[in-house]
């Protein structure tokens, strides 16, 4: 554990050093690729001056709401579609359509429908992140060993009981893989949603820094985004480890 973390940090340091060296020796313009030192300075300044905080806060709130909404919908829809084949055939095309249509293109319309501010970003986030959870829930629920299903029929379990007591627990690992993808996509969704329709949030900051050609500021914001992403991912891993305890516990 600590060794892996050490290795990871060493790798990070090596990558950063290589990047810094590349910037210096190749003489790449800062505007194209700022050296890590410049990015670090921007990052530190942004954090110390408090410039980043409101944006970080906004993005985190959107992320939270979006993940909650998207996962609720994805999980619910996954269950509904797994339980009903006709529903699946009926709705799946719309689900797919909702996914392939780029939200970035629809963002201006979202703004018209949901107004400026948080709502449209949250909607975009939810819309982006519900799909992997839906697909994985759908698949996991259909993979229950048939003899377990027979057992539950034999016990006179209702459909809801079979779902909650059998299908969901036994599909949990697959569902959680979907959740991991979902939270990661959700952050992308929140940031992209902020590209349009928001004047706050890390996404807005990225665009603003692009406008002023402040590339090191932009990279600093990207670093923040990555850090945020890794923390929610880690949190998901912890949740997963806890939820899967009954599958792994040995004492």
């Amino acid at each position: 554990m600590t060794r892996a973390r050490l290795a990871s940090l060493l790798l990070l340091a090596a990558l950063l050093a290589a990047w810094e060296a590349a910037c210096r020796t190749l003489g790449l313009p800062k505007l194209v690729l700022p050296p890590p030192s410049a990015v670090a300075t921007s990052l530190w300044q942004g954090l110390a001056s408090g410039y980043f905080w409101p944006h970080l806060q906004a993005t985190m709130l959107e992320l939270l709401l979006g993940v909650a909404g998207g996962c609720a919908v994805g999980f619910g829809a996954g269950i509904a579609l797994a339980e009903s084949a006709p529903l699946r055939r009926l709705l799946m095309p719309y689900v797919v359509a909702s996914q392939v249509v780029p939200k970035l293109a629809l963002a201006p319309l979202f703004v018209l429908w949901f107004g400026f501010g948080m709502t449209s970003t949250v909607v975009i986030t939810a819309l982006i992140c519900f799909f992997p959870l839906l697909e994985n829930t759908l698949t996991a629920l259909q993979q229950v060993p048939p003899e377990r299903l027979e057992l539950f029929r034999m016990l006179g379990a209702t459909r809801a009981q079979t779902l909650w007591r059998l299908k969901l627990p036994s599909g949990l690992p697959g569902i959680l893989a979907g959740l991991r993808v979902a939270v990661v996509l959700a952050l992308v969704g929140a940031v992209v949603g902020e590209f349009i329709g928001a004047s706050r949030g890390l996404g807005a900051l990225v665009i603003a820094s692009q406008g002023t050609m402040d590339t090191s500021l932009m990279f600093a914001v990207l670093v923040l985004i990555a850090a945020l992403g890794m923390s929610v991912y880690q949190a998901t891993l912890l949740l997963e480890r806890w939820l899967l305890l009954p599958f792994t516990r040995n004492s």
Partner: protein, 313 residues
């Protein structure tokens, strides 16, 4: 047949897709303005002038199609760049509001909700200039990002005004925008909208080719002014958004209008107005958009310009 002469490759980095507005850069295959000058022209797209500048800095292109502020901002960051041609000497930015809202002067914008394309767009800078002229700043208004369909929220009443460009307004009108008030940024800050910008070392190394490129561009621009209908037809084929020739024609007419000024009528297309650019640079510094003082005279070069010779008879 004669073997064709060896052509010099010039790559232009645009701020957008190959759209009707930049028809002079897209019609070489049909009209041969650049081939005639021994230039093989390529156009690479971008999403904003910052992309164009970045692309020349990264060596992906030779010439950037950039607005002055982006050019200044890059200089401010210490890059060695040079402007060699004034594409649109006229300021094309404006702020548009519905007739009934009685926003006619920059001062009327106080406390209003105003849309911009994006936080990185020229529309926002135009708005800032206007606000500055009325002693206001962005904090006195609510800026919201609308995306490219910026007139829709205006029509729906979700914003009080929206910052746009002349072509944007034209298109908006065609798409059903009712009577509007227009505050032109050019009234406050008459200045160029777009320049051809090159890296200093490219400027030194490719002088001859750049000169021929500019001649080709000036010829193309002059042709577009002389034959707007033909240009509108060709845009159907060459521009990604040129499906409607009638609209093309109107856009082309607007761009033709913004391509000339008193100065270009005197010195030929592309002539750079150092004084107005200096004024713009000073304004932007006061706005805090660039940090260091800038001597525009040192970063513009008129010596590659075709001069009056380039104008068709």
């Amino acid at each position: 047949q004669n073997t064709p002469p060896r052509l010099d490759r010039i790559v232009v980095a645009g701020w957008n897709k190959p759209i009707t507005e930049v028809t002079p850069l897209l019609v070489d295959e049909d009209k041969g303005f650049y081939r005639a000058q021994g230039i093989a022209l390529e156009y690479v797209p971008g999403a904003g002038s910052a992309d164009a500048i970045r692309n020349i800095l990264a060596g992906q292109a030779d010439v950037a199609f950039s607005d002055p502020l982006t050019f200044f901002a890059a200089l401010d960051k210490g890059e060695k760049l040079r402007a060699i041609y004034d594409i649109y000497p006229q300021n094309v930015f404006n702020v548009v509001s519905l007739k009934g809202s009685n926003i006619t002067r920059p001062a009327d914008l106080k406390g209003k909700k105003i849309g911009v394309y994006s936080l990185a767009s020229g529309t926002r800078q135009g708005l800032q200039v206007l606000l500055h002229s009325a002693g206001l700043s962005e904090s006195d208004v609510t800026v919201v990002v609308t995306g490219l369909l910026n007139f829709a929220p205006l029509m729906q009443g979700q914003v009080d005004a929206t910052a746009a460009t002349d072509t944007g307004l034209l298109i908006g009108r065609r798409r059903g925008l009712p009577e509007v008030n227009v505050i032109e940024v050019g009234q406050v800050l008459p200045m160029s909208s777009d320049l051809f910008v090159v890296r200093e070392d490219v400027y030194q190394a490719k002088r001859a080719a750049l000169q021929r490129f500019l001649r080709g561009y000036a010829d193309a621009a002059a042709w577009m002014m002389a034959k707007p209908e033909e240009a509108a037809q060709l845009a159907v084929k060459r521009a990604i958004d040129g499906t409607d020739p009638a609209l093309n024609l109107e856009i082309i007419k607007l761009r033709n209008a913004s391509s000339v000024s008193a100065l270009t009528r005197r010195n030929g297309l592309g002539a750079l107005d150092v004084a107005s650019l200096q004024a713009a640079a000073d304004t932007y510094r006061r706005l805090g958009l660039v940090q260091k003082p800038l001597d525009v005279g040192k970063v513009v070069s008129q010596d590659l310009l075709p001069g009056r010779r380039g104008e068709p008879g």
